[in-house]
């Protein structure tokens, strides 16, 4: 690494939160490291100390029940999610999102929690978590608090997290367990790539939920629809809810157009 920093491995939440409070902006949480270490190398972050949370007991909790829903601890990697039978069986939208995230090597390190804490507009797990109405459990020395995923993101790479806070778990309610869903992502190549634009659709009974990545400063969830709404309504309201930009990868117009194409495909696959 081109920049010097200290490494500390926390053995408990209390220890990690104490260090975070003590170090302030000079401390950064290290989980998978697939964003943090790149940011440090690029000079975008200059922590004096990284705090490894992977040795905290039960940080890799990944449990599911018909009453409590799915709990994803901060140490759970994308591949651990993809390999878990309960997730494959009961949360197909989550695995659809996870399959699109980076490469096999990155998925072996990158964590689900890290993907949302990094808060990229193109975070692949975000559309699935938004559609599933996930809650984000935040801890600090002041105690835990839980916030809905759709209020977690505040801007590009910005979240509601305050100094001294970390995300400990993602909680997915049991209400949409077994909901059908899919996620489609436009890329420049067939292999791993950042998304140009992506759309997720969830169907549970009469409920339809839509979320979009790479089409606004944050991942966006649109209002709840129902199967009584027409596909045209869903597409029009989704396109009105996002504000994509022109950039090196494609134009604003193409992003808007492809959101419509993806929703049509997902509708045919999941709803029709």
């Amino acid at each position: 690494m081109n920049r010097a920093f200290q490494y500390r491995a926390a053995s408990s939440y209390d220890e990690a939160l104490g260090w975070l409070a003590e170090l302030g902006p000079q401390g950064r949480v290290l989980a998978g490291g697939t964003d943090l270490l790149i940011n440090i190398r690029a000079g975008l972050m200059r922590p004096e100390t990284v705090i490894d949370i992977k040795r905290i007991p039960n940080i890799d909790q990944l449990s599911d029940s018909p009453t409590e829903g799915l709990v994803i601890g901060a140490g759970v990697t994308i591949n651990e999610l993809l390999e878990r039978e309960e997730v494959i069986q009961h949360y197909p939208l989550l695995t659809a999102c996870a399959e699109h995230l980076a490469s096999h090597q990155v998925r072996n390190r990158a964590t689900v929690v890290g993907n949302i804490v990094n808060a990229s507009p193109c975070a692949d797990m975000a559309p699935g978590l938004l559609c599933l109405d996930a809650s984000i459990e935040v801890r600090s020395q002041a105690g835990p608090r839980t916030v809905p995923a759709h209020t977690f993101f505040t801007g590009a790479k910005q979240t509601i997290l305050k100094p001294g806070e970390l995300v400990s778990r993602i909680l997915i309610p049991a209400t949409t367990r077994d909901a059908q869903g899919g996620y489609l992502k436009l890329k420049r190549i067939a292999g791993h790539d950042l998304g140009i634009v992506g759309a997720a659709l969830l169907k549970h009974g009469d409920l339809i939920r839509v979320a979009v990545s790479s089409a606004a400063p944050t991942p966006v969830r649109v209002r709840d629809f129902s199967t009584a709404d027409s596909l045209d309504t869903v597409i029009a309201e989704t396109q009105a809810a996002i504000c994509p930009i022109d950039d090196v990868r494609c134009t604003k117009e193409y992003r808007l157009f492809m959101v419509g194409v993806f929703l049509k495909r997902l509708w045919q696959e999941v709803v029709a």
Partner: protein, 162 residues
């Protein structure tokens, strides 16, 4: 800090800095230079090693994080001075040209074969999606994996650009 690891079946103890990546630890502190640094950002896969049974980009892991770990690198493919079946297949199929991506590709494929001993062409493509090769166009690499796994007949599914 002092790091204890097992690499290719051999135990090592080395003093290193808190901020050294596993990639540089392997190359500089242990002296195993087969693992390459390409992009240093998790894009190219040249630095792929197998960490506790899972393929990872060693440029995105700190040596400090792997205390007590078991690691396999490309050097571990060589057994008693003989190349592995997979390495032989790479040679036979011209799957190595400049060679820079080869150690990472071999480790990704080793990880794939540990999970799935007879992968389909599609599964091979997925298994190496995190490894960039700018010479071969990948077809020869896939052919090598098919040969190494006794599936040479599937080579007809592939198209060479003439």
């Amino acid at each position: 800090m002092i790091i204890h690891v097992t690499v290719n079946g051999q135990a090592y103890t080395r003093e290193t800095t808190d901020y050294k990546t596993l990639l540089h630890f392997l190359r500089e502190d242990i002296g195993l230079t087969g693992t390459k640094e390409g992009c240093a950002a998790g894009e190219c896969g040249a630095c792929t090693v197998i960490l506790n049974g899972k393929a990872v980009n060693s440029c995105l892991v700190l040596a400090a994080e792997v205390q007590g770990a078991v690691i396999e690198t490309v050097e571990g493919e060589l057994k008693d001075g003989k190349m592995s079946v997979l390495q032989d297949a790479f040679v036979q199929n011209h799957a190595t040209q400049c060679g820079f991506c080869t150690p990472g590709l071999l480790m990704s494929i080793r990880d794939l074969l540990n999970r799935n001993p007879t992968p389909s062409v599609h599964e091979i493509k997925e298994g190496i999606e995190g490894n960039f090769c700018r010479c071969t166009g990948y077809v020869q690499v896939i052919e090598a994996v098919l040969d190494a796994t006794g599936q040479s007949e599937k080579k007809k599914e592939l198209h060479h650009v003439s």
